[in-house]
């Protein structure tokens, strides 16, 4: 029982990370119809940005999260400028390669700057425990991560639903030309989307970085796993990405505890392959607006 509850909680922590990164992926896919391979690197950058803020500038960890989101959001804008905008109108495959190239550059620059060894992102609540009925001992950091993640996702969905720019993003995702006829500045929407997508991943990195350690390669497997999450939840769907992320996180955690530790990383991939193969038409034929 204890093991189960603990693993479940850990699964939710991991799952929230997947969800945040996957949301970034899904937002960008929704608007550009491209797969942004830098999403894992942005996540890693988020962790390092927070680290620099906390360890380098002696800043507060919670402010560091916001700092990481803004700073990495700006990096996202740079990425959009470098590897997406110049290629608009070209075959979709080039985007996978160009963003992959950027991811390699980013990961290795961080490797050069900070070294390959794992670093610790210090959070004041990383070692404070919450005791739930003597069955579950959780660090406050993990609880905070889940709460913060949920808050981000709620904020984002409300943003998409209620604000003018949010509606504009959904409109551009569905039909760019008609959106332009509504007076929406499509290029501006592009930038907002990349900023938000990057900031979401950065938040995940800054949060999870204080749970585990941070290293330049921490985003490597994440990109394809969050793609799996997006496929499971439905392309372009924010709630779907949230749910898919949690499901994958929990099943990895429980599967890792009860079935196989070695292959837990394969769960999401196998599910994704199955989804894509069993109903490719349903998936590809569906409208891919933001929901």
């Amino acid at each position: 029982m204890e093991l189960f509850v603990t693993q479940l909680a850990n699964g939710l922590v991991i799952g929230m990370t997947y969800a945040l990164v996957a949301i970034g992926l899904t937002l960008i896919y929704g608007i550009f119809h491209i797969i942004n391979m830098t999403q894992g690197s942005l996540y890693m950058l988020g962790a390092y940005a927070a680290y620099v803020f906390v360890s380098g500038a002696q800043g507060n960890y919670f402010v560091a999260i916001v700092f990481a989101m803004v700073a990495v959001g700006l990096v996202g804008l740079l990425f959009e400028r470098l590897s997406v905008r110049p290629l608009l109108g070209r075959n979709h495959l080039v985007f996978i390669l160009s963003t992959f190239g950027l991811a390699v550059i980013t990961d290795n620059l961080v490797m050069i700057g900070f070294g390959p060894e794992p670093l610790r992102l210090a959070s004041p609540i990383a070692r404070k425990f919450i005791n739930v009925q003597d069955v579950l001992f959780l660090t406050q950091q993990k609880v905070f991560l889940i709460v913060f993640g949920v808050a981000m996702i709620v904020l984002l969905t409300q943003f998409l639903k209620r604000t003018n720019v949010g509606r504009g993003m959904r409109a551009v995702a569905t039909d760019q030309n008609t959106a332009a006829l509504m007076g929406i500045n499509v290029k501006q929407i592009y930038r907002v989307t990349f900023f938000l997508g990057a900031a979401m991943s950065a938040a995940a990195g800054a949060l999870v970085g204080a749970v585990f350690s941070i290293e330049p390669e921490m985003g490597n497997l994440l990109i394809i796993k969050s793609f799996a999450v997006v496929i499971m939840g439905g392309m372009g769907s924010v709630p779907g990405a949230f749910l898919g992320g949690l499901i994958l996180g929990v099943s990895e955690s429980l599967g890792g505890a009860y079935l196989t530790v070695e292959y837990k990383d394969a769960f999401g991939l196998i599910v994704m392959i199955l989804v894509l193969l069993l109903r490719p038409q349903g998936l590809l034929g569906r409208r891919m607006g933001l929901r």
């Binding site: 006829l181 007076g183 500045n185 409208r287 607006g289």
Partner: protein
Amino acid sequence: MIELSGIEVYYGRVYALKGIDLTVNEGEIVSLIGANGAGKTTILNTISGLLRPVAGTIRFRGEDISRTEPHRILSLGIAQVPEGRNIFPDMTVRENLLLGAYQVRDEHVIRKRLEQAHALFPRLAERRGQLGGTLSGGEQQMLAICRGLMSGPRLLLLDEPSLGLAPLIIKQVVEAIRSINAGGTTVLLVEQNARMALRISHRGYVLETGKVVLADTGARLLENDQVRAAYLGQ
């Protein structure tokens, strides 16, 4: 109000418009008619800024807008109701209308225009919480027209508003167009249903493969044999 002179547009290497000259005066309903592929929609999309002309100028109230971006053109007072309605299917009727008012900052103005829309088509008020994709074709057309009006345009471009609608609904749409025009909005109307369009227009232009072949008052064009020829190749 708007004047196109010598407009040429290409899709890649294919010419779509070859030297279009046309004017719409303040307060008019002007219709563009012609067979499929004659270039009617292309003219509207060029005015809206979705397409760039390679030659020619478009003047709107004296200002050259032929190189202006779509969102700026809207803010100058030109709104387009696109062909096929292009309602955002995953958004509610209300959200669709709000998108039409994307550039309007003043809440009061938005509320007033929503009321006007609901007055124009009471059906939309009933359906305000429903998703756009679940509306019938007629309701979608009503929504599209109102969405176009939400920005408070001086010139409304209507692309095939009767497409695929039952005669009864077409009548409602026509009534709406007339009342919009009576309210002071200039209308440029593209239609396949030439008889309907010409009946309600002050003037009309007949297009054939990217060129204007006839221009006259609506009533006179209705009687013209060349109009039939343009459609039926007789």
